[in-house]
Amino acid sequence: MTAVISKKALGIAPMSNNKMIMSFISEKVQALILPMAGIFCFMLLWSLTASSIDTSLGKFPGPHAVATQVVNLIDEHNAERDKADVFYIRQDERNKVRMAKDPSYQPKVRIYTGKETFLDQILTSLVTVISGFLVAAVIAIPLGIAIGLSKTLNTAINPIIQIFKPVSPLAWLPIVTMVVSALYVSPDPMFAKSFITSLITVTLCSLWPMVINTSFGVVSMNQDWVNVSKVLSLPKHVHIQKIVLPASIPAIFTGMRMSLGIAWMVLIAAEMLSQSPGLGKFVWDEFQNGSSQSLSRIMTAVLTIGLIGYLLDRTMLQLQRILSWDKSSAQL
């Protein structure tokens, strides 16, 4: 009798295991195949429409043209780096020769001023967006907590936030540019003026979503936790550090992800408008350049911008998953 049952059990167990494995695989396959199918359809549609649009700069770039440009842009980058290396080697040699002739000679070291490549521009934009975002976070999170904790402060500051929140940071750009030019005067500046201008623009637009979400997180904090803190008679700074900050972490992350998304979009526009180095400038330069390659290079930039924006958001999400106790709010 027992033998029969165990046989049955044995027979059933692998079946259900198989089923589980199958459903696991089919889930994975779906998660992989469906997006691939989506991308494939998009590519097909894109190349079909692209070939039927004629512009004054030639045909609208299709996937193939973009792929070619990706290779081109990387090649150009490497070529530029080689040029720079050659320049430095030449400079060193020249200096050595002159030092040998005249030991009192002070060798001159000049920095290579070649054209920024596409990859340089990507890096510039990334550094700018992250710096501006961090500056905004350093201001916005304490401010949001203060506003969330104090009704008085909230009532006082709320109108200002509401008025400045809908202003496109691009409207600020001329003012920021003029103020930075006037105030940021130093014979040996640590950062370029254009970097400071872009950074402030990014900060201005990242600020509001973070302030609003942080203060919302603090206000909507579970009243029980506040009562626990009261019963324990926690001092103010411990209350903020141990209760308020962790409690509002999920809302803070929501604000940060919104901010970073906006910041990245705004930065590209600001770079185009103000001719500050970065991906925006690359796009604008190519547009002004108007060669037969321009459109496909711009298209490459567009896709790169999208990809980087996506990766920035994913990074924030990953960070949230690691740091936030509330795993359900870090779902997507």
Binding site: W225, N227, V231, L232, S233, L234, V238, K242, A247, D326
Partner: protein, 286 residues
């Protein structure tokens, strides 16, 4: 035994847009050291308000609360509260939740090793030492409430305040928790004020049952002394004459003297007169 807590002629008035609302009127209660008091009454009668006034999460409009003959003016760990919804901090483990309390209360009085021992002692007391590194969302409702009780006990409170501590639990878990609480009370002999809806819970656990009248202007209706010997056993008591007398005394107070009439808003009742009529009928039958 000496009076440890004196709730002295407390009135509570809440200002509302429609004018003042008197929640409590002349609540007066003296509690002896080591006494276990249950506050029972219909929902909305202001039991929680009384507890919050003792905890100083609310301030009484008139009257006040004396702890060891000193008026209490702000919340403090000597009046630890066990909240209805456990109120554990979800980002901390069970151990860390208690640690936060212990670190604050015994900051300069215990060495780190003593603190660790004290936290673990309290976890053992509620039989939760096996789950000390679990976060609240990884354990069941009853387990969370155990940790909540351990956290409150770890503050070595002079008065332990419990706001319907088992209200959110299923009946079996609740019975289990009541037994645990009796066992702990047997060891520690704390002074406890517990709010409850549950007549059996009140009779089983308390030394005195304080029954409150319905609001507005709720106050203490009757006080019932429970002179059943400790330790109490729920199965043995089920047949006990005195137990059943006390039980029916509480039931009589709640369902005859202070019967709660469901008030149906007038705007709604004019719209659905028929439905409201049916509702009223069923509630009176129940």
């Amino acid at each position: 035994m000496s009076i440890i807590l004196d709730i002295s002629k407390v009135d509570m008035v809440f200002p509302t847009p429609k004018g003042d609302f008197t929640a409590l009127k002349g609540v007066d209660l003296q509690i002896k050291k080591g006494e276990f008091i249950s506050l029972i009454g219909h929902s909305g009668c202001g039991k929680s308000t009384v507890l919050n006034i003792v905890a100083c999460l609310h301030r009484a409009t008139l009257g006040g609360v004396l702890l060891n003959n000193k008026e209490v003016t702000e919340p403090g760990p000597e009046r630890a509260v066990v909240f209805q919804n456990h109120s554990l901090l979800p980002w901390l483990t069970a151990y860390q939740n208690i640690e936060l309390a212990v670190k604050q209360v015994f900051k300069n009085k215990m060495s780190p090793a003593e603190m660790k021992e004290w936290i673990e002692h309290n976890l053992r007391l509620v039989h939760m030492d096996h789950a000390k590194d679990k976060r609240p969302d990884e354990i069941s409702g009853g387990m969370k409430q155990r940790i909540g009780i351990a956290r409150a006990l770890a503050m070595k409170p002079e008065v332990l305040l419990m706001d319907e501590p088992f209200g959110a639990l299923d009946a079996l878990t609740r019975a289990h928790m009541q037994d645990s609480l009796m066992e702990i009370q047997q060891k520690l002999n704390n002074t406890v004020i517990m709010i409850t809806h549950d007549v059996d819970e009140a009779v089983l656990l308390s030394d005195r049952i304080v029954m409150m009248t319905n609001g507005p202007a709720a106050t203490i209706g009757e006080i019932l002394d429970v002179n059943l010997p400790h330790p109490r056993n729920r199965l043995a008591l089920a047949e006990d004459v005195e137990y059943n007398r006390l039980r029916s005394a509480v039931l009589t107070f709640l369902y005859e003297k202070q019967r709660k009439v469901e008030v149906i808003p007038t705007a709604e009742s004019t719209k659905t007169t028929e439905k409201a009529g049916i509702k009223q009928n069923t509630s009176s039958v129940a």
